[in-house]
Amino acid sequence: MDFETLSGDLHRLRDRALEEIATSSDPAALEALQIQYLGKKGDLTAVLRGIGALPPEDRPRVGAVANEVGEAVKAALATRGAELHGQVQARRLASEAVDVTLPGRTVGRGTLHPIPETVEAIAEVFGQFGFVVYEGPEVEDDLTNFQMLNIAPDHPARDLWDTLYVDIPGYLLRTHTSPGQIRVMQSTRPPIRALLPGRCFRYEAVDASHGFEFFQVEGLMVDEGTSMADLKGLLDEFAHALFGPRKTRFRPGYYPFTEPSVAFDVQCVVCGGAGCPACSRTGWMTILGAGMVHPVVLQYGGIDPEKYQGFAFGMGVERIANLRHAVPDLRYYLENDLRFLEQFR
């Protein structure tokens, strides 16, 4: 055995290995080639076994050649390995292609009802101005619902609140959220900024714009100098928040429990003020009633009208929701047809 023979063997081994590597077709075959050539019992090792027969001065030279061959085979394995991996991955990815235009897997088809959602929207606006939420009973006593709000039993204004009575003497289904004013005043001291959402009831036949059950939000603010100017400022903010920038109108109204009383209009959300059937051609839509809390009501609330004054307002939640969402019929709300509800996503 001499150096030339051995290095010739090594070069042949290299050439054979490189060819086999280049033509190997899958990672398993490549793995086998690695073992065949570079493994502990592989061909390279076998060739080097002959090194012992060489003269000592040739051994380093053969070692260098063997290294060279080993590195070349390793490099070829790596290159081919990367190539094959790329091919395999490409095949897998190609086989995994989907029609990306297919619809997705549906999640979370729940919806929230527009009534509580509108209450939330209202509470959010007034919450920014320090109004906190209270709730009162729906089965209310006659005194709080009427007399304490300055509506005497035979007051002609009682016609404004057709009432459902219950079989508990002295009780009725509250006709408005206004009795909550009394309850808040009796339970807390000024400064008061309260918001009272809730369900109300009236003896009223059902049609597209009336129902015997409906929802209101009442507001109450009482302090030493709270005036109509504060009311107007707040209501303007409220209207802008809920209906966008549009004109508002503050005009006289009538409620027994406020004096002076106010009706609050916004420019028609349908026609923008030009006049259309939705606004009876006036260009305006009334969204709430308000006024300065009547001294009789303040006193029933335990508040001295000489020291404190304030305002109250009340609005129909359905009315606000109708205008915001263009709901055509009040009956939609309590009917709960999912074709209606699921539009509120």
Partner: protein, 830 residues
């Protein structure tokens, strides 16, 4: 109130367009809700002159006419009326005309003769109530002009608020117009030409209830001739929404619309003994009213009577026997002031609300009793002839002076927030007829009147005294003056600014927990519903939803009784619900009818009940699941909702509230539940709790309600904090620093042992090292016996401060095994 503008112009000059006037009135608080073009529905109706009137050759009751309409050839028109003669000017509906009620006029043939249009009666045009004869127009009327140009009008529909009874009339609205525009109100000249014999020769009046009838003014007219009112008057009444009846009745109605004072005219012959008595009805008395209904009179009803019995219900409706008839010659005019409350109650009792009673209810200016009596007499004489007896009967001729109301201009400013000086306030008040005086001496201020009167001493503050016109019965307290000032000045001049005063203390929103759970449920795929609180009385008995007696851990109403509405609108909504389940089933039924069977809904709603004679309200969460949990889809198998979905939702809610996993207890009561698929879920911690029923409905319920759904899952949960609560804070546990050890156990038990018992037994025996326990498999079948099942649990062990040894875990598992064996007779399967 309907206000024809042409009539309103009798009392005040109006420079504005109708639209401008409507806006001014609205901004003054007299909301104009509509502007109606009166006469807009007389299209192609023109003034014509009758040239010839001849008998129809083939029909006795028809006439052939030729009519000149001012241009073109005369028209040939067949007419059935008998009051026509050549030379008259009449309304002619041309072919193509459309009359009120959408009646179309075309060229027709009547008994063989062509008719090129129609001559119109007042009734056909809705101008007068005469349906018999053709409307004969004044001879000076211009030929050919459109009738709408002659008699067209604009009618304002004004919403007069209940406190402003004084404005429920033309004079009252003329005052408001004057306040808005600065014009002057013109009263009609009211003067009665009287005869010689005194009224006392014909009429005596005895008021036995002076509290309820504070004034009665009577007049007597002899020799009237009943007939229609002048056309012009009939047109006015029609435009104002009141049907013309006869000249005498119309005079009374005209005055009510003009002055706001209801009066009544009796057939003088029907007032026996010429004596009117105002008294309460006596038991057993009855009266046939003008609407020809026989009414039993209750003893608290104020009536107008003669010595022989009732002839009218005071202020509400007259009696049929004393009604003005065609042959009436003498009339008695009643112009009285009645107690508003009494009239209101009477109107309600007999379900009779007339234009008159609506005005009486709001209170009447005392002076008007006299003025209206005179005005009715004056108009009756003008329209019906006759002679008015001299003088009036008047039971209370002393008329009160104007009331005086002191106010502090500074307080008016403080309420409105507008800088309005005292002189400006005085000017503004003067525009609505309120004069003011300066006040020297200190004076009491009326801050409030009944039912909580308050008078305070003005002290050193500047005070003015308002002299309140007698018609303004609504101005009683200082705040009323403030409104009047603000109203006349214009609310639009009120400044707007945001409050800059102290904020109230923090208060958690009672909606916080509710909203958190609502959004959680919507996120979990459920749709929120809001249903009626008023339900049908059979709704709950039919469903037999169990009472809350066996629920513990949250406040549950002791099984209260149903609250019933005593005056329901419909039997379908006459009791207050105690539970949500029936309402949710109704929603399912409705959606099924719309072809929608996949329903997953929830409601946060109240239950109501009577407990110890008092009403109580509580808030609950109701859930209903039915149909597909996952709709059929190309990329996922569909799946029906079942009990586990509802339980999963309860578990999610418990987690959201920071509560331990709910414990389930079987409820095998049967109807309304599936006897093997109903449970009570309980999850309780220190401050929070979720307790309630979760069940699949019994098939009989589905059948009873005609539901197509095979399985309907319903839950009703009581949740502490749903009424008012604060979401629980999260307390973080340190992340374990030492590894946890998992062991799986397959527990074989008899079918009778439920999973809750097995897991409770495991937890109890495992000791404090057990960190987690989860059921991951349930198996039945070989090699198990038919009466057995295998429950596979994964147990997770761990300790905070060290790594567990195998021996410790083995020991815990051995304890669990022993416990399961001894307590439940369970074996472990490997």
């Amino acid at each position: 109130m309907r206000v024809p503008l042409s009539w309103l112009r009798d009392y005040v000059d109006i420079q504005q367009t109708p639209e401008q006037l409507a806006e001014r009135l609205t901004l003054l608080g007299m909301e104009v809700q509509g502007l109606e073009q009166w006469g807009a529905d007389w299209r192609s109706v023109v003034v014509g002159e009758l040239l010839t009137v001849e008998k129809h050759p083939r029909a006795d009751r028809l006439h052939l006419t030729t009519v000149n309409i001012g241009s073109g050839e005369p028209l040939h028109i067949v007419c059935g009326a008998n009051n026509i003669a050549p030379g008259q000017r009449v309304p002619v509906a041309l072919p193509g005309a459309v009359l009120p009620g959408d009646r179309r006029i075309e060229r027709t043939e009547k008994m063989g003769i062509a008719s090129e249009g129609m001559l119109c009666s007042g009734d056909e045009l809705h101008i007068t109530s005469d349906a018999e004869g053709i409307l004969i127009l004044p001879p000076e009327t211009t030929l050919g002009v459109q009738l709408s140009d002659l008699y067209g009008d604009v009618v304002l529909d004004v919403d007069v608020k209940p406190n402003r009874g004084d404005a429920l009339c033309l004079i009252g609205l003329a005052r408001e117009v004057a306040a808005a525009t600065g014009a002057t109100v013109r009263w009609p000249d009211i003067a009665v030409r009287e005869g010689d014999d005194p009224v006392s020769a014909h009429l005596r009046v005895e008021v036995r209830e002076p509290e309820l009838c504070t004034r009665f003014v009577g007049r007597w007219i002899s020799g009237v001739k009943i007939g229609p009112s002048p056309d012009r008057i009939q047109m006015r009444l029609q435009a104002a929404g009141m049907r013309p009846v006869s000249n005498v009745v119309d005079a009374s109605n005209y005055v009510m619309l003009e002055l706001g004072k209801p009066t009544h005219t009796f057939n003088g012959a029907a007032v026996r003994d010429g004596t009117i008595i105002v008294r309460r009805a006596t038991p057993g008395e009855s009266l046939e009213t003008l609407d020809h209904v026989q009414r039993e009179l209750t003893p608290d009803t104020l009536i107008i009577a003669d010595p022989h019995g009732p002839i009218g219900i005071a202020g509400v409706m007259g009696g049929a026997d004393s009604e003005i008839a065609d042959d009436t010659t003498d009339i008695a005019i009643e112009s009285a002031i009645f107690d508003p409350v009494s009239i209101r109650r009477t109107g309600h009792r007999y379900a009779l609300r007339s234009e008159a009673s609506l005005r009486f209810e709001k209170g009447q200016e005392f002076q008007l009793a006299r003025i209206a009596a005179d005005r009715v007499a004056q108009l009756t004489l003008a329209w019906s002839g006759g002679v008015c007896a001299r003088g009036r009967i008047d039971t209370a001729p002393d008329e009160p002076a104007a009331a005086r109301l002191a106010f502090r201009p500074a307080r008016v400013r403080k309420l409105s927030g507008a800088e309005v000086s005292a002189p400006e306030q005085r000017d503004l008040l003067r525009r609505v007829g309120v004069e003011t005086e300066e006040n020297g001496a200190s004076v009491q201020i009326q801050v409030a009147v009944a039912p909580q009167p308050l008078r305070v001493d003005a002290g050193e503050e500047e005070v003015l005294v308002a002299v309140v016109p007698t018609w303004r019965r609504d101005l009683a307290i200082e705040a009323d003056v403030a409104e009047e000032v603000a109203r006349v000045r214009g609310y639009e001049t009120t400044p707007a600014h945001l409050p800059d005063t102290l904020m109230p203390a923090y208060r958690p929103s009672p909606l916080a927990v509710r909203n958190m759970l609502r959004s959680t449920l919507a996120g979990a795929g459920l749709s929120e519903v809001v249903t009626h609180a008023l339900v049908a009385p059979e709704s709950e008995p039919r469903l037999r939803w169990p009472s809350d007696d066996d629920l513990t851990g949250v406040e549950t109403p002791e099984s209260g009784s149903l609250i019933t509405v005593t005056n329901p609108l419909s039997s379908q909504h006459s009791v207050m619900r105690r539970h949500l389940a029936a309402s949710l089933i109704d929603v399912l039924a409705l959606n099924e009818r719309q072809g929608r069977g996949d329903v997953a809904i929830f409601e946060v709603g109240k239950g109501y009940g009577r407990v110890d004679g008092r009403s109580r309200e509580w808030t609950r969460l109701g859930i209903l699941l039915s149909g597909n949990a996952q709709p059929p889809s190309w990329n996922r198998a569909d799946r029906q909702y079942d009990l586990d979905d509802a339980k999963g939702i309860v578990e999610l809610l418990a987690k959201r509230l920071g509560l331990p996993a709910p414990v389930y207890r079987a409820d095998d009561r049967g109807f309304p539940f599936h006897p093997g698929r109903a449970l009570v879920a309980t999850s309780i911690a220190d401050h929070e709790a979720v307790v309630g029923r979760v069940a699949e409905l019994h098939p009989d319920v589905l059948e009873q309600r005609d539901l197509r759904s095979q399985r309907v899952i319903v839950a009703e949960l009581a949740i502490r904090g749903l009424d008012a609560g604060v979401p629980a804070r999260v307390h973080v546990e340190p992340i374990p620093r030492f590894p946890e050890v998992e062991r799986d156990l397959a527990v074989v038990v008899g079918e009778a042992v439920d999973a809750a018992t097995v897991s409770a037994t495991i937890s109890r025996n495992a000791g404090e090292l057990l960190r987690g326990l989860r059921l991951f498999d349930l198996y039945r079948g070989a090699p198990l016996a038919a009466s057995e099942k295998s429950l596979a649990y994964r147990l997770v062990f761990g300790a905070r401060a060290r790594t567990l040894t195998e021996a410790e875990v083995d020991e815990a598992v051995a304890r669990v095994q022993a416990g399961l064996k001894s307590e439940l007779g369970a074996n472990l399967r490997s």
